[in-house]
């Protein structure tokens, strides 16, 4: 039971932290960082997905969720090619310009 309480506590803190950062992000107090700012090999945590409801479904179905750790594996060098990322157990490619819709925490931060 104590484990469960600890778990609840932890998820509560994480949610608050994300909420706080999201507000900073929306008010543009914090410098906006998004997925495309990562360099290959770096990781961060997803803060918000700023896209219409339709695409949000698709991103969500592929494992993009707020609070989820995201890893940039490689970027297509040629003509600013797509990004190859890993979220959870799934590897996904997405375009440079679409990566801007995904706001992230500071680089190297995991929750």
């Amino acid at each position: 039971l104590r484990d469960f309480e600890a778990f609840l506590d932890r998820s509560y803190i994480i949610e608050n932290y994300l909420q706080y950062n999201r507000i900073l992000y929306q008010k543009k107090i914090m410098p906006n960082k998004h997925l495309a700012d990562l360099k290959p090999g770096q990781f961060a945590t997803i803060l918000a997905i700023d896209i219409d409801a339709q695409m949000q479904h698709r991103f969500c179905a592929l494992g993009f969720r707020c609070g989820q750790k995201i890893h940039l594996l490689r970027k297509g060098k040629w003509l600013q090619g797509p990004l190859h990322v890993r979220v959870g157990m799934t590897e996904v490619m997405l375009r440079h310009r679409d990566a801007r819709y995904i706001a992230i925490t500071a680089i190297g931060e995991s929750l």
């Binding site: 179905a61 592929l62 750790k69 490689r74 375009r95």
Partner: protein
Amino acid sequence: MKQIAVLGMPNTGKSTFFNRFTGSHAHIGNWPGITVDLMMAEVKLGDELVEVIDLPGIYDLRGFSEDEAVVRCFLEKTPLNLILVILNTAQIDRQMILPLQIKQLGLPTVLLLNMADEASRFGVKIKPDLLAERLGMPVLPISAKYGMGYETAIVTITRSLQQQSVAVQVEGMEARLLNDQQLMNDQEAVFDGTVQMPSQLVDRLTNGLDQILLHPLLGLPIFFGAMYLIFQAIYAIGTPLQKLFGNGLDWLKTIALEPLLAPLPTFIKGFLIDGLYVGIGTVAAFLPIIFLFFFCMAIVEDSGYLSRAAFLMDALMERLGLDGRSFVMSLMGFGCNVPAILGTRVMRSQGLRMLSMLIIPFSLCSARLNVFLFMSTALFTPEHSPKVIFSLYLFSFIAALVTAAIFKGKFPSQEPLVLELPPYRFPTIKQILVRAWCEVKHFWIWSRKFIIFGVVAIWLLNNLPTNVPTASPQTLSGMIGQTLQPLLAPLGINPQLTVALFFGFIAKEIVLGGLAVIYGQADSGNLAGAIAQQIDWVQGYSFMLFTLLYVPCLSTIAVIKNESKSIKFALLSVFWSLSLAWLTSFIFYQGARFLGY
């Protein structure tokens, strides 16, 4: 009859399971109110015959894609006795929403955790019994590819089906589906103590291979090199097989067919042997090559390399107003354009779909490959003919690129692209053979009726009226050829070839069968000789260019019209491909003649 539907996200091995479950006897079924084709099959479970329907792969029942709408429509209109939900065990953390949604709808469900072997390799630990208890539905780990856990799953499915004598139909679906928060809460409650995930995916094989295959500099050369090797291999192995097969058909004709039909009147005998048998036989002889083609494509697709091709090509495609998926669909179009055009359904933006549908018909499909293999063998030396074929593949690419560049302004798209890159997998030999076999069977059944119709029509046109010499300018076909000459003579295409092209409008399979009938020669060696006597290589290549670029077949046009829901767009596709074909052939032919060839 009781009905079972199979549902799952894309890339979960759903079709592998469906093929194993139905023994690949599936056929296309029609459903009231549903515009797309669904595969279905009858399967014997226990002592009753059951109908199994394969639903399109979807991510979310609340989704907005066409496939998601199809599944919603299907569930609301069709009473089901059981629904099988399939998911990729390694990705259960994000795929659980589908079974949770189905559970909410109150459908009797069996959950299959596919690729269980891969999941345990990646360190995913699941307690299926506890999970089943929480979900209130049987949960079975299986491997559809290797058959592990499959027998147990079938026993459970049979038992669940026996208990479910009443079919359930979903009503008021929209209202009953949960929102994201509720789903997350449900999932957490279900997963607690039953599912243990590693913090992230670690797959050495995939990481290592991607280092090489997605290398910033080497990636593309490796990809095109691999494609070149595949086509060379198909040619090298396929051509002798095709000769052997052709000789066999010939031998059968001389030894059995001719003596057997000898008593019949000349007109009917000619119709049966020189018309039907030779026409169909010439095309049938190419089946081994088509089999090899699909065999190779199945390996490329099932290993996971095809989605890497999308990654490699996306940057260029983006500049052309397309995306990596359009490229993959064009590649699939090298087998057959029709399924490739259906495949564009995964795109949400209408502009992107239209542009992709406009370029796919330029993919050199297997029906056209037959014609080119034949013509290049007839008109070029054995050293040159593989290069001729490869140059046609290049032309096919260039035509697609040029088309996209010209029309991208007319069909704009802002659709974001997110594509899964699945881990590399080794396809099993059996899986590949079954797929290639099904594709060939499909090709044969599909094209047979066109070939028979075309061959019969050409033979009749060549022999009517009966009082003039066969295939002379006085016959019906001679008249068609003469009428169209002003248009095609500048391309170096003679009246005989014109007739073949005319019928090739229906399907490219007819072109070769038609040539066989027009030149009225018994075996394919002689036919090649007859053609080589009449035309030189410049005319031949011009003919091949025209065949490559003009309308692929009536079926493709029909599919384009259906999918775009616009006759205007289908006409644009026809008109554009005809103009491009004429222009290319004209420039090539006149240019070559000008240079003195």
